[in-house]
C-alpha cells in the first residue's frame, strides 16, 4: 500500500476559504492560493478544495482559483463543488486540478461518474459522500436522502469512482475524532481507497483514522494554526503511521 496521506481540506466560498461546524456557522480563514502554498510547504500530501457556495456564476471564480493554485504548488489536488457535467470536470482538470470530486450531481446522475472516468481515468474521480446516521445527505448536508451510505459507496465504486471522500456530518468541525465505525464499514464494502473526513482534533485522531483507512482529511485543526502542519505530521508519524519523508524548510 502507498503511504498514509494527510489531506488539508479547504472549503471555498466566493473565492475565499471558510470553515464551519457541522456545515454551518461559516467563518473566513484565508486566501485559497496562499493557504494552498502554505500547506504544500508544510508537508501536505495532497489538498482538497470544495466550493461550498458553488453556483453557476461561481464557476469562473473557481477555475481562476484552480489555475492559480496549480501554478504555486506541486502536490496533487482535488476540486469539488458545482461539477455537474463532463465539460465542467474538463474545465477544472484543464485548469490544473488532478481530480474532481462529485457529490449531489453523482447522486442525481450516477452515470456522470462513469462518463468522467471514461475520459480522465478513475483516478480523476472522487465521489464525496456526506453521511448522516445511516443515510446520505446532499446540498452541503442540508438535504436528506433515502439512500444508504454503504450501498451508495459501493455503487459509486462500481460506476468507476477512484476514491471515496467520506464525511461524517455529525463529526464535521467538532474535533472529537473521526467516525471510525462508519469509515471501516464503507472501506470494507469496496476496493477503492477511502478518505476519512470529519472530526480531526488531535494527532491521535488522525493516526486512528489512518490505521483504519488510506487517508485523513483535516480542516479546523490546521486552519486554526496553519504553521502547525509539520508538527502534526511529526506527531502522527511518532504514533507509528508511515508518512512520506518530508524535509521541513529551515
Amino acid at each position: 500500500m502507498p503511504l498514509s496521506r494527510i489531506i488539508p481540506c479547504l472549503d471555498v466560498a466566493h473565492g475565499r476559504v471558510v470553515k464551519g461546524v457541522s456545515f454551518v456557522n461559516l467563518r473566513d480563514v484565508g486566501d485559497p492560493v496562499e493557504l494552498a502554498k502554505h500547506y504544500s510547504d508544510g508537508g501536505a500530501d495532497e489538498l482538497v478544495f470544495l466550493d461550498i457556495a458553488a453556483t453557476p456564476n461561481e464557476a469562473e471564480t473557481l477555475v481562476s482559483v484552480v489555475q492559480r493554485v496549480a501554478d504555486v504548488i506541486s502536490i496533487p489536488f482535488t476540486v469539488g463543488g458545482g461539477i455537474r457535467s463532463v465539460d465542467d470536470a474538463a474545465r477544472i482538470i484543464e485548469a490544473g486540478a488532478d481530480r474532481v470530486s462529485l457529490n449531489s450531481a453523482a447522486l442525481a446522475t450516477p452515470s456522470l461518474i462513469t462518463d468522467i472516468a471514461a475520459r480522465f481515468g478513475s483516478q480523476a474521480v472522487v465521489v464525496a459522500i456526506d453521511a448522516g446516521e445511516a443515510f446520505v445527505f446532499t446540498h452541503g448536508g442540508r438535504r436528506a436522502t433515502d439512500i444508504a451510505t454503504v450501498p451508495w459507496a459501493a455503487e459509486a465504486a462500481a460506476r468507476g469512482a477512484g476514491e471515496i471522500l467520506l464525511t461524517s456530518i455529525a463529526r464535521d468541525g467538532q474535533r472529537t475524532g473521526f467516525d471510525i465505525e462508519l469509515t471501516t464499514a464503507v472501506r470494507d464494502a469496496i476496493d477503492i481507497p477511502v478518505i476519512a473526513s470529519g472530526g480531526a482534533g488531535t494527532a491521535a485522531h488522525v493516526a486512528e483514522a489512518l490505521r483504519a483507512t488510506d487517508a485523513a482529511l483535516v480542516a479546523s485543526i490546521v486552519h486554526e494554526n496553519p504553521a502547525g502542519l509539520p508538527g502534526l505530521r511529526r506527531e502522527v508519524a511518532a504514533l507509528g503511521i508511515a508518512l512520506r519523508p518530508f524535509k521541513e524548510n529551515p
Binding site: P2, E46, A95, D98, F120, S122, Q123, G162
Partner: protein, 184 residues
C-alpha cells in the same frame, strides 16, 4: 525555440507539467504538431486519461509517428504515467490497445488490494517518495526502478518513462524532472 514540448492528447493536465518546468527555468509549449515534436530539444509525453483515447488522438494528429521518429533518431522523450505506458508494445486497458512500441513490454491491470493505487510511495533504488495514481502498470525488461515490487520506471536508449507524477511529487519530483531534462 522552447526547451520542452509537452505533448497534447486532449485529456491531459498539461498545466501542472508546465508549471513545474517554469519553476525549473525551462521554457515549454503544448503541442501535438509532428514537426514541432520532431524538432524539439526534449519532449514530455504526460499522463492522464485512457490508453485508447490517447493513442487515437496521437495517431490522428501525427504525433505518434513523430515520437517514433524521435526515438529512431536518438532524441530524448520523457514519459509520465500513461506516457510511459503508451511507449510500450501494448496495454490491457480498454480491452487491449496497441502502444507506440518504442520499448519492449506490456501494460497490465494492477493486482494491488486497492485500485487505483493512489498516493505517495518510495521508489527504489532512488530512495525518494513520489506520487502515484494508476490502475495499470508496466512490465518491461527495461525496468530501472520499482515501488512495492512494481515496475515504475523504464529506460531504453533515448526514452525514459516513469509511472509516478514528478510534476505532483513536490521537491523530489522537481529534482527528478531537472535531472531527467538536463541529461542531454
Amino acid at each position: 525555440m522552447s526547451d520542452v514540448v509537452v505533448i497534447d492528447y486532449g485529456a491531459g493536465n498539461t498545466r501542472s507539467v508546465r508549471s513545474s518546468l517554469t519553476t525549473l527555468g525551462f521554457s515549454s509549449v503544448v503541442s501535438a504538431d509532428p514537426d514541432t515534436i520532431r524538432g524539439a530539444r526534449n519532449v514530455i509525453l504526460p499522463g492522464v486519461g485512457s490508453a485508447r483515447s490517447a493513442m487515437t488522438h496521437l495517431e490522428a494528429t501525427g504525433a505518434a509517428e513523430a515520437l517514433v521518429d524521435r526515438f529512431t533518431n536518438g532524441d530524448d522523450i520523457v514519459g509520465i504515467c500513461l506516457g510511459l505506458q503508451l511507449a510500450l508494445e501494448a496495454s490491457q486497458e480498454d480491452g487491449g490497445v496497441k502502444g507506440l512500441g518504442l520499448v519492449e513490454g506490456l501494460v497490465v491491470r494492477l493486482e494491488t488490494p486497492r485500485i487505483p493505487r493512489l498516493g505517495w510511495a518510495i521508489v527504489d533504488p532512488w530512495d525518494e517518495a513520489f506520487y502515484f495514481a494508476h490502475s495499470y502498470v508496466a512490465e518491461s525488461p527495461h525496468m530501472v526502478a520499482t515501488s512495492e515490487g512494481l515496475c515504475v520506471a523504464v529506460r531504453k536508449e533515448s526514452f525514459f518513462g516513469v509511472q509516478f507524477h514528478p510534476e505532483k511529487s513536490d521537491a523530489a519530483g522537481l529534482k527528478f524532472l531537472e535531472q531527467c531534462l538536463s541529461r542531454a
